[in-house]
Amino acid sequence: MALIIVKKSPANKLSEFLLKLALPQDKVIFIQDGVIFAIEKNLKGLVKEGVELFALKEDFIARGFEESESQIPLIDYEGWADLIERDEKIIS
């Protein structure tokens, strides 16, 4: 199990490359411009089944989005820290 950090926007090809690395039971956290992924309707289609997706709330809100626009759970820095504590492997 790994935690994958996606910090670049969907416009950057590397982001999708990182999403494809995720295996079932991995977690992905979108931060910075990566949070723009959170409004994509077919976001779950970009990762394998069983991959958990999160977006960093502060970065999402700062970009003018409303919480209701997110297709995935929004977590704060404490939530991100929880994920970091839980998974030993971090890919970014």
Binding site: K7, I31, Q32, Y77, W80, A81, E85, I90, S92
Partner: protein, 117 residues
């Protein structure tokens, strides 16, 4: 836990230093040992001559405050030379090191978080 965070891009122009500083604060408050490794253009964040506008945040000062709280701040020395940052410019509590220190952090840390360039 010992958690290391590597940054690679310049402060202000991009937000990685802001992300790293915020994350480090949270992790320190949770009782973790935190090390920040500054690579490539991120070494600019340790230059105490940086003078932002008054309404803006002072990133070197924030790093200094983290260092005062026990966060280790490692600066890639060769990267610093390439950016014209000398030992006397760096903030208190930070250290010039290099790839051997990166290796030590990668080996010894429980978590290694790279913020890719």
């Amino acid at each position: 836990m010992h958690i290391a965070i590597q940054v690679n891009v310049p402060p202000y122009t991009n937000e990685d230093m802001d992300t790293a500083i915020h994350l480090a604060q949270i992790l320190v408050n949770r009782g973790h040992k935190v090390s920040i490794f500054l690579f490539a253009d991120s070494v600019l964040a340790t230059n105490k001559l940086v003078k932002p506008m008054k309404i803006d945040r002072n990133i070197p000062l924030k790093l200094q405050e983290l260092s005062d709280k026990g966060v280790e701040v490692h600066i890639c020395g060769l990267c610093a030379q390439y950016r014209g940052i000398t030992e006397d410019m760096k903030i208190e509590g930070s250290d010039f090191s290099g790839v051997p220190e990166m290796a030590a952090l990668i080996y010894n840390s429980d978590r290694y978080i790279n913020l890719l360039p």
